[in-house]
């Protein structure tokens, strides 16, 4: 099987986000980049499918800055065979990213049997790229997937929806599957894996190579701002058993009279 995995590099979840003075962009100089946490599940799933289907290859694809290829090397250290990077700035919208991913997959010369990604990138939180890419490639897609089993031609996946309910889909491959936490437990890259990854092929393409230009931009962002700071709240000490009941009564009263939420 030809298995593709789309990965993104995103700011570490602990990173403080700092908009530029005029709010026109996000300062990136002090950001620590990591592989998008949901994409780790996608890489793991690709490797599991590969192991179950002899002769399969796993190719990782990313659109982003050339100076930071860590996510691709990490995926190859986990076991992926090769990688494609479409070199681009960080301000592409979902449509452009999906179009670039499609271009890179086509440039690989291999017809995908399965494309995996995380359900969402934790920087723009758009949840669009898997569905857009699938539509552009005329493939079925299932997103927010927490369960995967099946063969090289037919799979059964579970999609998590409201209230913890699961929709169970039977899917004919080729297809696009976007993974959620719970689908598997990603492996760590071993030291030999990390050494080997350095020698695995990584092809760099430009946006022009994959046919993406400014004319493809659909979504324009501006005015990046931190959320307004909340004024300090009221704090009550209820460690003294004698006062507990009164404190709780006071707070419940405030929820009705002041906050008006009960």
């Amino acid at each position: 099987m030809n298995i593709f995995v789309c990965v993104k590099q995103v700011p570490d979840t602990e990173t403080k986000i700092v908009p530029s003075g005029d709010g026109s962009f996000i300062e990136t100089s002090s950001i620590k980049w990591i592989m998008n946490p949901y994409d780790e599940f996608a890489v793991e799933q690709a490797l599991l499918v590969q192991a179950a289907n002899a002769g399969s290859t796993v190719t990782v694809v990313r659109v982003g800055s050339v100076k930071d290829t860590e996510a691709l090397r990490t995926a190859m250290a986990m076991g992926a065979d090769d990688a494609f990077l479409v070199e681009a700035a960080d301000n592409l919208d979902s449509y452009m990213i999906a179009k670039a991913l499609k271009g890179a997959i086509e440039k690989s010369g291999k017809t995908p049997d399965l494309i995996l990604s995380g359900k969402q990138a934790i920087d723009d939180d758009c949840l669009q790229v898997p569905q857009i890419l699938a539509t552009m490639l005329n493939l079925p897609s299932v997103s927010v997937v927490v369960g995967y089993e099946g063969s090289a031609t037919d799979i059964t996946v579970k999609r998590e929806v409201e209230g913890g309910a699961l929709e169970v889909y039977g899917v004919k491959l080729p297809a696009m599957i976007a993974c959620n936490k719970g689908i598997n437990t990603p492996r760590y890259a071993s030291l030999p894996g990390i050494m080997k990854a350095k020698k695995k092929p990584l092809t760099t393409l430009s946006l022009a190579d994959v046919g993406v230009s400014d004319a493809d931009k659909r979504v324009k962002y501006s005015n990046f701002q931190l959320p307004p700071e909340k004024p300090p709240g009221k704090k009550f000490d209820a460690t003294d058993a004698a006062k507990q009941a009164q404190v709780v009564k006071d707070v419940v009263g405030l929820l009705r009279t002041e906050a008006k939420v009960i």
Partner: protein, 320 residues
């Protein structure tokens, strides 16, 4: 003035609340609403009250249950005949999955999960959170029309449309086309209650809950005040609660009017999911827990004594 379609989901005999929130915000524009399948009279009355001009019930084979391809093909076919400028939907499980597919069928762009927006004439400008709510930005759309937008539930609030009148109801035949990802089964979730993403009140427990059985005290409180129960990742990873209950960066993003955090420290990844709650109550034994910096009302104390007392107080207040 823009010509707008709002796609709605039905929940029994009602439309989802987020649809009414969107309609209220679109007062002054010509707004059609479409749903897949038959639309109950109660739902139509609600839609009319909030300003829908025309209500379309889209009917065709293989649309009894949601499938990404079936719904996308059906909606695309309907939209193509309508010369709409914008298509809105709620940022629900279904909306978030469906709309990007349909947008791409029109080569169009989409703004995900906006928390506010304005229409200036026929130009849309939205606000949306990025980086799990650590930052907000203005979002605009360009390129081929219609433009697509999903709106986060509970973010806009309910504003009935003052010019609302009666809505006309039409049935439209649509084609689900070829479906390669077929739905085989729907496994019911742990909770029959309103999903966290739509809940108006949430009571969440953290690592301090110690085990799954202790969540009973949160459920008792939730039953009294009509809340949905959530959990921190530490509670989920320790097996006290299913992942569907997790609030935060790798869980659900919620926007209730009241969020009660019990024994949750307030790690940045947890705040990411619940910081847009309108009012936050925190119960924690550690007076320096970071959650207190975000809480409107903080109670320093042991949740195992405080929560039952609070439940009783709510009962007294609500006469239950």
């Amino acid at each position: 003035m823009a010509k707008i379609l709002v796609f709605t989901e039905l929940h029994g005999s009602h439309v989802k609340g987020v649809t009414l929130e969107i309609l209220g915000k679109l007062a002054g524009h010509t707004v059609d609403v479409a749903a897949i399948g038959a639309i109950p009279a109660e739902a139509i009355a609600d839609l009319a009250k909030f300003g829908a001009a025309n209500v379309h019930s889209l009917k065709g084979a293989n649309l009894e249950k949601y499938t990404p391809e079936g719904y996308a093909n059906a909606l695309k076919g309907f939209i193509a005949g309508g010369s709409y400028d914008y298509v809105f939907a709620g940022a629900t499980s279904l909306g978030k999955d469906l709309l990007p597919r349909v947008a791409t069928m029109f080569d169009a762009g989409m703004a995900s999960e906006v928390t506010n927006f304005i229409m200036e004439g026929d130009k849309f400008a939205g606000t949306r959170p990025l980086f799990a709510g650590k930052c907000f930005a203005k979002v605009e759309l360009q390129g081929p029309k219609p433009h697509f937008v999903t709106v986060r539930p509970n973010a806009l609030g309910m504003n009935a449309n003052p010019t609302a009148g009666a809505a006309s109801v039409k049935e439209d035949a649509v084609d689900a086309g070829a479906i390669r990802a077929m739905i085989k089964d729907i496994v019911k979730g742990a909770s029959e209650k309103l999903d966290l993403t739509e809940a108006n009140i949430i009571v969440s427990g953290g690592r301090a809950m110690k085990d799954a059985a202790n969540f009973k005290i949160l459920e008792e409180m939730a039953n009294v005040i009509g809340a949905t129960v959530g959990a921190s990742r530490a509670a989920v990873d320790s097996g006290f609660a299913p992942h569907a209950m997790q609030v935060g960066q790798t869980g659900k993003t919620v926007a209730p009017s009241l969020y009660i955090a019990c024994g949750i420290s307030g790690a940045i990844q947890h705040l990411a999911g619940m910081r847009t709650s309108k009012v936050i109550v925190a119960i924690n034994t550690d007076p320096d827990a970071p959650i207190f910096t975000k809480a409107d009302y903080g109670i320093v104390g042991d949740l195992f004594t405080i929560v039952p007392i609070m439940t009783q107080e709510f009962k007294n207040l609500l006469g239950k």
